[in-house]
């Protein structure tokens, strides 16, 4: 049952103490602290809370976890097979480029994979993909899709990103897209997952941009005071080609999330510098007036730009970014 985990057991550690794990009779046990971890629907439940197992009432992690358990995002409403997943992924440049440019035969970690669409997509090709999230209901959807479509190289694991279940420097690529801004301490989260990147490997971080998010923030306030009466202000919510379930999950994710923070390009560059990563690429590009091409080499080094570039890029995001949720993405390479 835990074939994926057994095959890669060498990189797993106990989230509570960092000890080695053992699998026997579909039960996962730490050889050091002797903690046991259950498995549900073939998903190992390796989530471990922040501090000594005590969950506090206003713990952001717990709040967000509860929210996503109720509203798994994104859903698999429109397609049921790999063909549909590929088709969907190919419509966006980012997923297509990733699939084209991430080498085969490597281990890829996606932190905060949600329902695992990107993990499953990347695992169609010959890569070993580890999709982790704290929300079990989302993971179950990913696991179900994986199972139905025989994507054996993909494994889903419940994990708290502040309590990783992998050894340090296990992955040449770690993806964490749209996750850190829902945590109480995004920089600590970044620190935590950056340890999992091999030297010379890449990290890909997607965050809400402080400026790109302004229009969404305004809409959220309007929705709040109008009891969600003006949903038409969001272009996705008035798009007739989008199904109702998809609209609902978008609405919940964008406007009802219990916690989110906004970040700037300069801030993430600072994180990179502090932890020992070189900036490689960004979406949008960090130099003003440079465009992200359809054939962009994601892992090719690009200039960081200066404060004026960042100002212009983020101002541009203010006007264009809200459609995609005011998002920006940065790729860094861990120094050798």
């Amino acid at each position: 049952m835990l074939k994926h985990m057994i095959e890669h057991l060498d990189i797993f550690v106990c989230p509570a103490c960092g000890g080695d794990l053992q699998i026997a009779d579909d039960e996962i046990k730490c050889l050091k602290c002797l903690n046991c971890y259950q498995v549900e629907d073939e998903v190992p439940l390796l989530f471990w809370p922040h501090e000594n197992g005590i969950v506090q009432k206003k713990d952001v992690t717990n709040m967000v976890k509860k929210f996503y358990e109720k509203t798994p995002f994104p859903n698999y409403e429109e397609f049921e097979n790999v063909g549909g997943l590929i088709q969907k992924a190919q419509t966006g440049i980012f997923a297509r480029l990733l699939n084209e440019q991430v080498p085969f035969n490597i281990r890829v970690l996606e932190v905060g994979c949600g329902t695992g669409q990107l993990s499953n997509f990347l695992g169609v090709a010959h890569r070993i993909v580890f999709g982790t999230d704290m929300c079990l209901n989302s993971l179950k959807l990913g696991q179900e899709f994986k199972k139905r479509n025989g994507l054996e190289r993909v494994g889903f694991y419940q994990m708290n990103l502040f309590r990783p279940i992998f050894r340090e420097e296990s992955f040449p690529l770690v993806i964490c897209n749209g996750v850190l801004h829902h945590t109480s301490a995004p920089f600590s989260g970044f620190q935590s997952i950056s340890r999992l990147v091999k030297k010379g490997g890449y990290i890909l971080i997607g965050l809400y941009n402080r400026y790109g998010r302004i229009t969404t923030d305004i809409r959220r306030s309007i929705f709040k005071i109008s009891s969600d009466r003006f949903k038409f202000l969001d272009s996705r919510l008035r798009d007739k080609n989008i199904g109702e379930l998809k609209k609902l999950t978008w609405f919940m994710d964008q406007y009802k999330n219990p916690h989110e923070s906004g970040h700037t390009i300069r801030e993430v560059l600072g994180w990179f510098e502090q932890i020992g990563f070189d900036f490689v690429n960004g979406i949008p590009k960090l130099k003003a007036f440079e465009t992200f091409s359809e054939n962009e080499r994601l892992f090719k080094s690009n200039p960081e730009g200066n404060w004026l570039d960042h100002f212009l890029v983020q101002t541009h995001l203010l006007f264009t970014g809200s459609k995609e949720g005011g998002f920006f993405l940065m790729i860094g390479r861990k120094k050798l």
Binding site: I86, P103, F104, N105, V124, A125, I128, G201
Partner: protein
């Protein structure tokens, strides 16, 4: 004498080089650019053809474009004018490219190729007719060309004799069987000019409930197969869609949105238009026979890729022999145009023995030597096993028998839309799960799509109701009665895609729900290695039939180079890849822990 035939600017750009009447090379541009149905100027295909022939553009005597752009432009203008002001949007969209480029074809060709010699423009359907008759094994034959539209012509028939093709009659735009079929392709939610064969594959799941409606409301079909469409229901003359609101009202709803679930109604519609198409083609064939009195028939044009109709023409029309151009669509126009100049324009002699055609198995594309493949594999640190020539058939036969799915990359690439055993994915036809498994996990396409069998030529009639060869996979024949499995009462009650769950014969993976198969007969002279493989499979496992599907995934062109093949292999759940003598097994691909080259590793060569 070197003649370059080219087709482009509509869909499926291609080039073909003919030297002294022999086709030296032919290829579609999409295979090089990796853009499916690429319509751009086929510079890569041209370069390949020149390279294969060992010449440069200065050595070309003629360049032939497959249609007459000015007449086509006239048709477009006239059509817009007759519908104006309706269609202004489509007019504004189409005109700039016509005025800027398409009508200046001669200049464009000269400039692109740096060519000073003669550029010739046969008519679109002349090119199709030439592609149907000149490579055929017949000295004399009737021909029938049916497609969407060329200049004005949508259907033509005539006689090919010695070195001439002579068109006797035509049907003109907007009355087009190809466009009628495409309209339904659009309506059932598939992509026009590429999804037609999907609709054909879907048809057997349905019932012809709408056949009478199509024949009564949409078209006026005559006894001789000629017809007129009722243009009140179509939008393709001036609009940006194929069908209009009236069409939707007639069939009770809007077009299926691409990607949404297929319903029984979609299947019924597909079966209805399929039967109408067969009816029209049969009537046409009957009429052509009466008018020409020839015993041989040659087919070309996109509609000639409708292998179900072709099979019925073969079985039910009075013609004794039927030969179909494997690149029947516009790509084949490049080949036809080049041969047209060699035979008809230059009046060179043509002698055929009535048995062997001149298409060379349609293996007219690039070939990659073992040294090239080895270099690619080693450069990219890909583990492989080197097999001796004589070991390849047995090794691969064993793998297939062990339910492995094999990427098979050998010799020259095929010209035309079908993979004929050089750029193919192979599997065990005896497996009842293989069809669904290969569709969903290898090809990533709809589960209803059937797979085609390759069978060794001399054993074809043991498995299929066919008494002749079908080397180009363009004929559909029923699986032999005695090999079929009788359906239980419960199974008979199934309808729609549930029929997929039943095992219908002893070769279930290639038996469609109506017990038909689109077969390829493999000849030991045309493709010796592929023949040996199937023969070995027969020897060891008592079955001379295997699954042969094109080496690509949904939405991508068939692979051309070793790099394309390797990428496709690694991006799917194929188990093994054999390229030349090199066997690559998925399970042997080692995890890369160090030295991952993120920038160069898998760049196409």
């Amino acid at each position: 004498m070197n003649i370059l035939g080219i087709s482009f600017f509509y869909h499926d750009s291609a080039a073909c080089l003919v030297r002294d009447g022999k086709v030296i090379a032919a290829a579609q541009e999409e295979r090089f650019t990796r853009k499916k149905h690429d319509a751009d100027f086929p510079i890569n295909a041209i370069n390949y053809c020149l390279e294969e022939a060992g010449i440069g553009t200065k050595d070309l005597d003629f360049v032939v474009f497959y249609e007459k752009p000015f007449i086509k432009f006239e048709r477009i203008l006239e059509t817009y004018l007759s519908y104006a002001p309706i269609g202004i949007k489509s007019f504004i969209k189409a005109m700039p490219i016509w005025i800027k480029e398409k009508i200046w074809m001669k200049e464009l060709i000269r400039k692109e190729l740096n060519f000073e010699g003669k550029v010739i423009f046969p008519e679109h359907h002349e090119s199709h007719a030439a592609s149907a008759f000149f490579p055929s094994p017949f000295q004399e034959a009737a021909f029938l060309t049916i497609d969407g539209v060329g200049e004005w012509t949508t259907t033509s028939f005539g006689v090919g004799k010695d070195n001439k093709v002579d068109i006797l009659a035509e049907i003109h735009f907007p009355h087009s069987l190809g466009l009628l079929y495409s309209a339904f392709t659009y309506y059932t939610g598939f992509k026009v000019n590429s999804g037609e064969y999907k609709m054909m594959g879907l048809a057997p799941y349905g019932k012809p409930k709408y056949k009478d409606l199509i024949l009564s409301a949409l078209m006026n079909l005559k006894e001789d197969g000629s017809f007129k469409l009722n243009m009140d229901y179509f939008n393709y003359c001036a609009g940006l869609t194929m069908t209009n609101r009236r069409f939707e009202n007639l069939f009770g709803g809007p077009p299926r949105s691409p990607g949404s679930k297929l319903t029984q109604r979609d299947m019924d519609i597909a079966q209805s238009i399929q039967e109408v198409t067969e009816e029209v083609m049969l009537r046409m064939a009957q009429h052509v026979y009466q008018e020409t009195g020839k015993k041989n028939l040659c087919l070309a044009g996109g509609v000639a890729l409708n292998c179900v109709s072709n099979g019925r023409i073969l079985r039910e029309s009075p013609f004794e022999n039927v030969w179909i151009q494997p690149a029947a669509g516009d790509a084949g126009g490049a080949l036809g145009a080049a041969l047209f100049v060699w035979y008809q324009y230059l009046e060179n002699k043509r002698i055929s023995d009535g048995k062997k055609d001149f298409q060379q198995g349609s293996y007219l594309g690039p070939k990659f030597e073992n040294s090239y493949i080895k270099n690619y594999l080693e450069k990219n640190k890909i583990s492989y096993i080197l097999l001796k020539n004589e070991d390849i058939p047995e090794k691969i036969a064993d793998l297939i028998a062990n339910q492995k799915v094999i990427g098979w990359f050998q010799e020259r690439m095929e010209f035309g839309p079908r993979a004929l055993g050089n750029r193919s994915i192979l599997g065990d036809a005896r497996s009842s799960k293989m069809q669904e498994m290969m569709n969903l996990k290898i090809k990533f396409r709809e589960s209803f799509r059937p797979f085609a069998p390759s069978v060794i030529e001399e054993r074809a009639s043991d498995f299929f109701e066919i008494d002749r060869k079908s080397p180009y996979m363009l004929l559909v024949a029923p699986v032999k009665e005695e090999l079929r499995r009788k359906m239980t009462k419960e199974e008979q009650k199934l309808f729609g895609l549930d029929k997929l769950k039943t095992t219908r014969s002893s070769i279930p993976a290639v038996t469609h729900v109506d017990y038909s198969a689109r077969l390829q007969t493999v000849n030991k002279d045309d493709n010796p290695l592929y023949y040996q493989l199937i023969a070995k499979f027969d020897e060891k496992y008592a079955c001379p039939v295997i699954i042969n599907t094109s080496f690509n995934v949904r939405g991508e062109p068939i692979v051309c180079t070793p790099a394309d093949a390797y990428l496709c292999f690694m991006r799917t759940n194929m188990d093994c890849l054999i390229m030349g003598n090199f066997l690559i097994e998925k399970k042997e691909q080692k995890l890369l822990d160090k030295d991952v080259n993120w920038l160069k590793e898998f760049e196409l060569d």
